[in-house]
């Protein structure tokens, strides 16, 4: 089984694109203030529906949080 790492946790790879991955993670792809990076490179929102997710990818899904 292929695996990816999402926000520091291993996941079985079942998504083909960033869009699919967000759906699988219960993140609304239309939600505002969300950003995604794969292997240290930001994937712009406009490419989520076609940016492939591949075996071994390290993915960060982030959003603003309170901070000083």
């Amino acid at each position: 089984m292929s695996t990816i790492r999402v926000n520091g946790e291993d996941r079985d790879l079942s998504a083909a694109t960033v869009f699919d991955l967000l759906m699988a993670e219960d993140v609304d792809p239309k939600a505002r203030f969300v950003a995604v990076a794969i292997n240290g490179v930001v994937v712009p929102r406009g490419r989520w529906d076609r940016e492939p997710v591949k075996d071994g990818d390290e993915i960060e899904i982030v959003t603003p949080a309170p901070g000083g």
């Binding site: 926000n7 520091g8 993670e25 219960d26 993140v27 609304d28 939600a31 505002r32 203030f33 969300v34 950003a35 995604v36 990076a37 240290g40 930001v42 712009p44 929102r45 960060e60 899904i61 982030v62 959003t63 603003p64 949080a65 309170p66 901070g67 000083g68």
Partner: protein, 260 residues
């Protein structure tokens, strides 16, 4: 009558009437945060960038603050230039701003900036089109290097983050102010209103703080106190204080005293 409107703070291409920059954490709850930020009069509010927390129900701090404030994302929690640069780029994507409060921390104990990584990250982010406002050490050489790299402001610490120790090296801060053309904003260490006033009396262009308000017994009142401290300090700086002397100088008219 002097009006703060006549004394704007300009950072990069934006102008602000308030010289108070405030953090959005760690407040007891969202309402206290909103009330405190409103009481502060601040126009610039900092936020962090974190892995998405699905338990938060989809509402972010931005949903509460958006529209009313200039949002300044930070790279808090980053220990390397690489992580700080990626966090800034994620912030740009998530919030649609190229402004970044750049923090690269050296260790957990002191939360002191790692100057080597800070300079590397600042260089990379300036080249990538960011308006970079670095949290940095209070040494004039590092500040000068950051300005030379193209940072829009420098934000030397007054004291360690969250320490409430005030401005520990006022002489350095004065040197940093005198030597650089960009805004100098004291970031970190402010504990109470007199600390903020002192920072402004030293010539700083603004004060950024979070814990001193959010951890106060009454955050809304402390936000108000800080606002007045910053405004008072700024007025005093512009007004020009009298010199310190070793001897007294009477303020009442010296002639016409009875019995002479």
């Amino acid at each position: 009558m002097y009006s703060p409107l006549e004394d704007p703070l300009t950072i990069a291409d934006k102008t602000f009437t308030s010289r108070f920059l405030i953090g959005s954490s760690p407040f007891p709850n969202n309402q206290v945060m909103l009330d405190s930020i409103e009481a502060s009069g601040a126009q610039i509010v900092t936020v962090a960038i974190r892995r998405i927390d699905l338990s938060a129900g989809g509402e972010t701090v931005l949903d509460l603050l958006e529209g009313d404030y200039h949002i300044l994302p930070n790279t808090a929690g980053c220990y390397t230039a690489k992580d700080a640069v990626l966090t800034a780029q994620l912030a740009r994507e998530a919030i649609e701003t190229n402004w970044i409060k750049l923090e690269v921390i050296g260790d957990r104990e002191t939360l002191y900036p790692d100057v080597e990584h800070l300079l590397t990250a600042a260089d990379e982010l300036v080249r990538d089109g960011f308006t970079v406002m670095p949290y940095c050490t209070d040494d004039p050489i590092t500040c000068r290097k950051l300005v030379d790299l193209g940072c829009a402001a420098v934000m030397p610490l007054g004291a360690p983050i969250g320490s409430g120790m005030g401005v520990l090296n006022p002489y350095n801060i004065e040197i940093i102010r005198a030597e650089n053309d960009v805004p100098v904003i004291i970031d970190a260490g402010i504990g109470t209103a007199s600390d903020a006033a002192l920072a402004m009396e030293l010539g700083c262009d603004g004060v950024l703080l979070a814990s001193a308000v959010s951890r106060a017994h009454d955050p809304v009142r402390m936000a108000t106190a800080m606002r007045h401290g910053i405004e008072g300090g700024r007025h005093a700086f512009l007004a020009g204080r009298i010199p310190r002397k070793r001897h007294a100088e009477a303020s009442s008219q010296k002639t016409g005293v009875i019995g002479t």
